[in-house]
């Protein structure tokens, strides 16, 4: 069974069909690219998958169960996690708190235990556990030194990494990355490619990636889905996509 499957997914905004007939299937441990010209509807698809928008047609299945109509935070518990095209960190909080917030769903202690922190209660156990986990995660991204810095003071590339780390903290099966290389130079992009490959192995997750940088997509994705005007125009391996006349047409405007 596929990890993520969409059937005939679509959304219409006031008469304008932004996405339609979107069918995709992502299995475990896959790395899939979603590309298309500006305004083709890539981010809209992410918003549909993560529950930000309610689809007007079609279905989304995660592990065979529909997630349509669930709130974004509920979809997180089903194992979908995402980053944003324009970075959305908790800017005035520390780096470590940014990550700890994403562990929220994995912690259980209640309000009473929050106010009455008797020794040996769940509060101390869970907080200690999360502190270790969060620092380990930061270490993987070589950011343990910055743990107590405010996240807004991180350099741009690290902010992107922190967003990925935060997405991984929710314990996802599928990570949706929205233009992770935006604003990076070729050297940083190359490092990012290594990071993406690495997290797939390390965390055993599937990855769906929106990207403009062709070298990145072609370099790491096993499969690529191309959309234009909200519709899929091609699917296949990087080789196939490269030579597909429809894709070339969409990108060159022919």
């Amino acid at each position: 069974m596929a990890l993520l499957e969409t059937n005939n997914l679509g959304i219409t905004f006031g008469g304008l069909r932004a996405v339609g007939n979107f069918d995709i299937s992502i299995g475990e441990h896959e790395l899939v690219g979603l590309i298309g010209p500006n305004g083709a509807g890539k981010t809209t698809i992410f918003n549909l998958l993560t529950g930000v928008y309610l689809p007007t047609e079609g279905d989304i299945l995660v592990d065979g169960k529909s997630v349509v109509g669930l709130k974004p935070y509920q979809i997180v518990t089903r194992g979908l996690s995402r980053t944003f095209q324009n970075i959305r960190l908790f800017k005035d909080l520390t780096v470590i708190d940014n990550v700890k917030i994403a562990f929220h769903q994995q912690m259980k202690y209640g309000i009473f235990n929050t106010l009455f922190r008797f020794p040996g209660t769940r509060f101390w156990k869970e907080e200690a556990e999360i502190d270790i986990k969060a620092r380990e995660l930061l270490k993987i991204f070589n950011m343990e030194e910055s743990a107590d810095k405010l996240s807004k003071n991180l350099p741009y590339g690290q902010q992107r990494k922190l967003e990925i780390a935060r997405a991984l903290a929710t314990n996802p099966k599928l990570v949706l990355l929205d233009e992770p290389a935006a604003g990076m130079n070729p050297q940083e992009t190359k490092e990012l490619m290594d990071t993406i490959r690495f997290i797939r192995e390390k965390f055993d997750v599937s990855i769906l990636l929106i990207e403009h940088d062709m070298s990145l997509v072609m370099g790491i994705c096993e499969r690529i889905v191309v959309i234009d005007y909200g519709m899929i125009i091609a699917k296949g391996t990087p080789e196939e996509i490269k030579n597909n006349p429809k894709v070339i047409g969409a990108y060159l405007g022919a």
Binding site: P72, L93, K100, H104, I130
Partner: protein, 326 residues
């Protein structure tokens, strides 16, 4: 430093402060008039800290805080008058009355929060303002609780000791709340609601929860006010009263509870100094607010908190590094 050591330091600091002020009162350095002012400052701290929780921590602009205080004040007054002759010790009456005051205000907070918190920013501010006014006008129109006439004959249950420990308890509860997974969830909503939802925070729940918590402590402040004044004047709980509390929050720094404490104390003392030019008092406050927004919009403290433990750690580090130099 271990957790229990930090706790010990904080408790020691609080105890020393309490003993110090008690001594000053006992030996007449501070008179009864000063005592009254300190109680009022304490009430303002609770009111402003609770507002800061909604506006500075949760990030939702609320301009109807006086309404929640009014609910708390009336609830506390009605309860204490009802049990007036039952022979319960004052402290017990006070504790139960304040719990009822807070709970009633929190119930209204939930009822108002569920629809209102779908809005953001200035629109939310206006809606909370509207709800605050509706509460006030409703009180005017309910004859059973006195209508537009003041409520008299409320027992005086709040003195310096009571308000001091009430402030400590409220601030501690708020700090404990903020430094937990629930508090982080609330902070994440202030920072970026969409991202919060995307990492698994049930934002709607936490917005209403945070707003209700804020209303709860506002209700307690209102109850304390009723016991301190021994009467309730329904005309007090206007929009301007909400704004006065809001000014304390803004001056102290939205997001800093210790900033709120400092601002409430400073404004409380300033109030007395400005007493002889009472008519200019509000003019000066208004100018202060405008100048503050232009020069230092984050307030005195920004989102930072003063911490005795942090200060001591700094001192230790400083002395250690000096020793190393030698």
């Amino acid at each position: 430093m271990k957790k229990w050591q930090e706790l010990l330091i904080s408790l020691t600091g609080i105890t020393i402060l309490y003993i110090l002020i008690s001594m000053l009162l006992k030996f007449g350095v501070l008179n009864n008039y000063n005592r009254g002012i300190m109680v009022l400052i304490g009430i303002n701290i609770i009111a402003a800290a609770s507002l800061n929780f909604a506006t500075g921590i949760l990030g939702q602009l609320a301009l109807g805080h006086a309404g929640f205080m009014a609910i708390g004040a009336y609830s506390a007054a009605i309860f204490s008058k009802a049990v007036g002759d039952a022979g319960m010790p004052d402290v017990v009456v006070l504790i139960i009355a304040l719990c009822i005051a807070g709970t009633m205000a929190a119930i209204f907070g939930i009822a108002i929060g569920i629809p209102a918190l779908r809005l953001r920013g200035d629109y939310l501010g206006i809606v909370t303002l509207g709800f605050g006014e509706i509460i006030r006008i409703s009180i005017y129109n309910i004859k059973a609780i006195g209508g537009a006439r003041p409520v008299l004959g409320i027992p005086n249950l709040i003195g310096f000791t009571e308000i001091f420990f009430l402030v400590v308890i409220v601030l501690m509860a708020l700090f404990l709340m903020i430094r937990s997974r629930h508090g982080r969830a609330i902070l994440s909503i202030r920072e970026n609601e969409i991202a919060a939802e995307a990492v698994g925070i049930p934002t709607t729940f936490y917005k209403i929860f945070g707003f209700a918590t804020s209303a709860f402590f506002a209700g307690i402040a209102g109850g304390a006010l009723a016991f301190n004044q021994r009467m309730i004047d329904p005309r007090k709980f206007t929009f301007m009263f909400s704004v006065e509390i809001f000014i304390i929050v803004v001056l102290g720094g939205m997001g800093s509870l210790t900033g709120t404490v400092v601002a409430a104390v400073v404004l409380g003392i300033l109030n007395e100094w400005l007493h002889f030019i009472d008519q200019y008092r509000l003019v000066i406050y208004a100018l202060l607010l405008v100048v503050m927004m232009i020069v230092r919009p984050s307030g005195l403290f920004g989102t930072r908190e003063f911490s005795l433990v942090g200060l001591i750690k700094k001192v230790i580090r400083f002395t250690k590094s000096n020793k190393n130099v030698e």
